[in-house]
C-alpha cells in the first residue's frame, strides 16, 4: 500500500518536473518561462518529497521532508517575484503578444504614441525627446 502511494507520488512529481522543464524550454518570454517553471517545480518537488517521506517511514526523515517542502513553498514565490522585478527593471523585452503591461502608465503610452506620430510626420527623422512635467519654453 505504501509502495503504491509512493509510486503514484513519484510518477506525479516526475511528470510535474518534466512539465516545468518543457515550459522553461518552450515559453516565449522570461516571465512566462518563470511562471511555468516555478509553479510546476513547486508542486513536483512536493509530490517527490511526500513519496520519499512515505517510503522512508521514519519520523526524523518525515520531519526533514516536511521542512524541505515548507522551505521550498516559502522561498520559490519570493525568488520568482525578485527575478521578475529585476528583469522588468532591467528592460528585458516582453513577448510581442503581450496585451497588458500595467506598470507602464497611461501618460507614457500617450507620449510614446505622440512621439511615433511626430516621427512619421517629420518624414523619418529622429523625434525630439518629450519632456515630462513642466513644459519647457
Amino acid at each position: 500500500m505504501i509502495e503504491i502511494l509512493t509510486a503514484v507520488m513519484w510518477v506525479a512529481g516526475a511528470a510535474f518536473a518534466l512539465l516545468a522543464a518543457v515550459g522553461l524550454l518552450r515559453m516565449p518570454d522570461v516571465f512566462t518561462r518563470m511562471q511555468a517553471s516555478t509553479k510546476a517545480s513547486t508542486l513536483g518537488l512536493g509530490c517527490l518529497l511526500l513519496g520519499a517521506a512515505l517510503q522512508l517511514g521514519d519520523f526524523a526523515s518525515f520531519i526533514r521532508a516536511i521542512s524541505i517542502g515548507a522551505f521550498i513553498l516559502l522561498t520559490t514565490p519570493v525568488a520568482a517575484h525578485v527575478i521578475a522585478r529585476a528583469a522588468y527593471l532591467a528592460d528585458i523585452p516582453l513577448w510581442e503578444g503581450t496585451v497588458l503591461d500595467e506598470r507602464r502608465s497611461e501618460s507614457d503610452r500617450i507620449a510614446q504614441h505622440d512621439e511615433l506620430q511626430k516621427g512619421r510626420a517629420d518624414g523619418g527623422m529622429e523625434p525630439p525627446p518629450i519632456e515630462h512635467g513642466n513644459t519647457p519654453k
Binding site: 513519484w10 522543464a21 517510503q55 525568488a79 528583469a87
Partner: protein, 88 residues
C-alpha cells in the same frame, strides 16, 4: 515494482535537468539563465530526495536541505546583481 518506478522517475528528472541545462546555455538574457539555475536547483533537490528514499541513506536529506538553502540565496544574489549591478 518500486525499482522500475524509481528508475523511471530518475530518468525523467535527468531529462528535465538536460532541458533546463539547454535553456541555461541558450537563454537569450541573463534572467533566463537565472530562472534555469533556479529550476536546476529544485530538480537536484528532488533527485537527491528520490535517491535517498530509494537507497535508504537518510543523511542525503540533509544535503537536500543545504542545496535548497544555497539555491535560494544564490537566486536572490543573481537577481540583485541584475537589478542594480548595471553600469549607469
Amino acid at each position: 515494482m518500486l525499482e522500475i518506478i524509481t528508475q523511471g522517475t530518475l530518468t525523467t528528472l535527468g531529462v528535465s535537468l538536460l532541458l533546463a541545462l539547454f535553456r541555461l546555455v541558450k537563454g537569450p538574457t541573463l534572467p533566463d539563465r537565472i530562472v534555469a539555475m533556479d529550476l536546476i536547483g529544485v530538480l537536484v533537490v528532488g533527485l537527491i530526495v528520490v535517491v535517498a528514499a530509494a537507497s535508504g541513506v537518510r543523511a542525503m536529506l540533509d544535503a537536500a536541505i543545504v542545496i535548497a538553502l544555497i539555491g535560494f540565496v544564490g537566486t536572490i544574489a543573481y537577481a540583485t546583481y541584475v537589478e542594480r549591478g548595471r553600469p549607469e
